[in-house]
Amino acid sequence: MNGILITGGTIIDQTGERRADVRIVDGTIDEVGEDLSAAEGERVLDASDCIVSPGFVDLHTHLREPGREEAETIETGSRAAAKGGYTCVVAMPNTDPTQDSVSVVEFVRRQGEAAGLCDVRPSGSITVGRQGRQLSPLAELADAGVHLFTDDGDGVQDPLLMRRALEYAADLGIVLAQHCEVRRLTEGAVMHEGRCCAELGLPGWPSIAEDLMVFRDIELVRLVGAPLHILHLSTARSVELVRAAKADGLPVTAEATPHHFSLTDELLAGYNALYKVNPPLRTMADVEAVRIGLADGTIDAIATDHAPHAPETKEQPLDQAPPGMLGLETALGVSLASLDMPIAAIVAALSWKPAAIAGVADRHGRPVAVSEPANLTVFDPAAEWQVVPAQLASKSRNTPFVGVPLEGRVKHTVLRGNPVVIDGKAQK
């Protein structure tokens, strides 16, 4: 393998910020220093005015394969991830068939390896078929390398089953992740319950449905002691609950999506299903609370909840259209544009903090230092741009960020020493 030299950039990682070039040989960082000169045959990646950081890690990606390949495949989703600066994504288990057996998670992993654009780490479902009735073979799946388990899209409703899952998981070194929604309170819901839904005549998804489940699961963690990751926090109250749980020293982590810290429910006024998502877009007060939660560390990670949907599904009446938005290719741009945080803190929430939660911290989110694996992202933090749906690498087009000014764009992505994205273009 020929070497790579990343020149002219500023490194940001968990050890701080410094001006340095980075030489990569055989997938490993070989040299870090100022003004390195290119060796013969070495490929030079220009990083002038750019940040060089550990690769991003997404805790929450729907790749749709197997089952809904018309919306996304592992290859197209991996390409979108690489263009967004991600070197690793956790693939959500709501595939068809569900990722509840070793054979399905192995299939997903192999498809990820074949695409070769991003490290695809399958999650597993907590319950068989995500039906909320019977535990998936958590130990078998853990042995097969699955670290994060979730019934995402359908939280585990039954408190007894959730307690048992936490107890059983406690000895396996795995993490359960919960989509917090008391389903009985959100039946038929289309959007956040509040002024907008009242005016639009749409059934509301009340904040209390999230708050109650966050509260229940935090108390179960207090009882059992097993770690829990809370997916896509969207309400001011649930941010408070997580803050209090962390103050009590409980092993709780949380993520927030770019759309929940940048967009509000008022966007539904035109009945455009692009803005339908679960949990729903909420009010400005909730957006502010999520931003503060990220800034003070209550919320550990920025996660995309990248959820591709084919155009015809989003053209259905709002109550029938599936919830979900694209996110991989816009996460950095939305984060830098919306969050009043130091770049290093944003990179932490995109890279090494989620890497730790995903159980991939041995390969991803590592310091940019000699002998470390070369999974790196190079981005221009000042680049101003707007998303053009037709230019997205994702197979679907359901981005809610059309017309939104974005700040910060990925230039190069290096996966295991391979430049999978150069100057914003996927290399395969």
């Binding site: 509040g194 002024r195 005016e199 639009l200 005549g201 509301g204 035109g270 009446p317 109550d319």
Partner: protein, 309 residues
Amino acid sequence: MKHFRSIDEAGPQAIRRLLDLADHMAEVNRRPNPKVPALRGKTVCNVFFEDSTRTRLSFETAAKRLSADTMNFAVSSSSVNKGESLRDTIETIAAMGVDAFVIRHKSSGVPWQVAQWTDASVINAGDGWHSHPTQALLDCYTIRTSLGRSESFEGLRIAIVGDIKHSRVARSDVRAFTMLGADVTLVAPRTLLPPVTDVPVVTTLDDIIEDLDVIYLLRMQHERMTESLVPSLREYTTRFGLTAERAARLPEHALIMHPGPMNRGVEMAVDPSELPGSVITQQVTNGIAVRMAVLFDLLGSGSNLEENE
């Protein structure tokens, strides 16, 4: 005006214009031959994805009295049952040459989606819980003619009683009545109210009934009971139904209105034909005039009803 999809979108100026225009249409309807050539050559397609008797017949009659051609689309016998998407259905009908779609759908927002897929005008005949603007228009017209309020509803006290939360009629009526200056009060238990309301709410009908100029009763659907929104229809009637006792406490001039279909013995616990203030059948009659006004306003090429270029 290109579309007529909600009261807010139309705005106060258009609402007043349509009400004035409805006077002319009512005059046409009183003629021995109630038909004018105003929309000859125009095609109006009724696309009802949800069952309806009065609204569909009312629109069809309105279109015919203006000499428009009408097409009727019934979902039960259509390719929607073969899995055709809403978009494909609309684009297919539009390709046949349609000047206006009259749309009813159980999902809020469909008229806005449909307008993206056709150049034709879109008239909302009821979308989900959201909006039913021609109903609001006919309700305004009925109040205006019955109470002689052609200028404004300033000072008029109107109570809307019942299942506000799930009612497109209530949402549109609140907008239209307040736009014309009325003081609107909602009467319902919290379970039947939307999460946020812009007008005053009372939970005891008896507290205000003696001060009303209009009492507007909404249809109470039987399934609301199984959803624990009210304990029983009997209890609903006791608290919110128009009983003979309550009707007797209404001011003499007060109007009693209902969008239909009525649940006798529930919200209407008295025979409305025995109530002098009931204008429920006038509402139906007026529906044709206001729908003629809407069709003419959207599709007519001039101000003269009697001619067609």
